[in-house]
């Protein structure tokens, strides 16, 4: 680095490190594809829920390692200052927080939707301006306006 003595401000990632990272990414890619091909027969005798958990953990675990390798080496976050590291983590932290939203979806009752849920002609909670029809769920809190008819 003597010829770059005036440029101490940035880190130059050596080509050998980049090549090793590429090889790691390639090996992980082959692993995840290979596992997806052999998983149905390898996990034949495992209960489906457990097999699903194992498969998801392997697929997403490998994707996570690949993403971390790209972020740290290719994007050079490993060699950057703390504030850049913080920003790099921020987006993924937000993504984790978003799972709170998922908990909301997962724990609520999904309303029947007209045109989507088979056999359902009316919404579980009709709009207030919707005229009441036979077969609609009773509306306790909405006064049915008679003057519409």
């Amino acid at each position: 680095m003597s010829e770059h003595a005036h440029e101490h401000s940035h880190h130059i990632t050596p080509i050998s490190t980049l090549v090793k990272t590429l090889l790691l990414l390639g090996v992980l890619m082959v692993t995840t594809i290979a596992w997806a091909q052999i998983a149905p027969s390898a996990l034949k005798d495992v209960p489906p829920a457990l097999a699903s958990l194992i498969n998801n953990l392997i697929a997403m675990g490998i994707a996570f390692i690949k993403a971390v390798a790209v972020i740290l080496i290719f994007m050079g976050v490993k060699y950057q200052s703390s504030i850049v590291k913080l920003y790099a983590a921020l987006g993924f932290l937000w993504f984790t927080l978003m799972f709170i939203m998922f908990a909301d979806y997962g724990t609520r009752h999904w309303e029947a939707v007209r045109g989507w849920t088979p056999g359902v002609k009316q919404m579980a909670m009709p709009r207030a301006d919707e005229p009441y029809e036979e077969g609609m769920p009773p509306r306790k809190d909405i006064k049915i306006p008679d003057e519409h008819h």
């Binding site: 980049l18 498969n55 979806y105």
Partner: protein, 222 residues
């Protein structure tokens, strides 16, 4: 006379609002990362809707993923990983001011990006379009095991997410072409390696999105 061998660049300039070169460069990188955080949020909701609906319709989603060929997706994954490597190499050479190497690396990256789009169109989007597998009134579906409306939901997620990703790849192609031109003609706006570094960060992000999309859509675990 423009030389292809050497970068005709002035000595790195420190602009007056910065303390030194290190602070100036960190500012650029930090700005790019702020943009990438918004991109994570942008793609995050696409992943979230995927997770919510896959949670609800897991058996159907598993049946539907067989509509995609993991080999085509695998080739595209390899292409994107190689292009990510070559753009990291381009940054390396730009830091060492080796112009020809930078142009070759960026050219290879651009070629990979174009191949990605071509493969996606020729082997995935166009055949699916011809089979009527696009959500909307013209949707044709003859698999009795998967209800048509859930198939449409899945194809909406597939086209929406990979389409948004493909749009990012297309933007990458345009930006790489512009950057290569500016570097080739020694444009004054390319005063150091940072434009290559910025675009490299963008491109790596596009690669990371695909790293997650590929197992979720093509190798969907049962």
């Amino acid at each position: 006379m423009i030389s292809l061998k050497k970068m005709n660049q002035p000595q790195d300039t420190v602009y007056e609002q910065f303390e030194d070169l290190a602070q100036q460069q960190e500012t650029y990188v930090l700005g790019m990362w702020s943009f990438l955080v918004t991109e994570v949020m942008f793609f995050g909701v696409m992943f979230m809707s995927y997770i919510v609906y896959r949670w609800k319709y897991q058996p159907y989603f598993y049946a539907l993923h067989k509509e995609l060929d993991w080999r085509i997706g695998g080739i595209n994954t390899a292409i994107l990983l190689a292009s990510s490597f070559s753009v990291a190499l381009a940054v390396h050479y730009h830091q060492r001011k080796k112009k020809m190497n930078v142009l070759v690396c960026l050219g290879f990256t651009n070629l990979c990006a174009i191949s990605f789009i071509v493969i996606k169109l020729l082997f995935e989007y166009i055949p699916k379009w011809n089979h009527g597998h696009y959500p909307g009134p013209g949707f044709t579906w003859d698999n009795p095991y998967v209800p048509s409306h859930i198939a449409q939901l899945w194809f909406s997620l597939y086209f929406g997410t990979t389409g948004l990703h493909g749009l990012h790849v297309l933007i990458g192609v345009i930006l790489f072409s512009v950057l290569m031109y500016l570097i080739a003609v020694d444009h004054p706006s390319i005063s150091d390696y940072l434009p290559t570094e910025m675009l490299g960060l963008y491109w790596h992000f596009v690669d990371i999105v695909w790293i997650f999309l590929y197992p979720l859509y093509y190798l969907m675990p049962k």
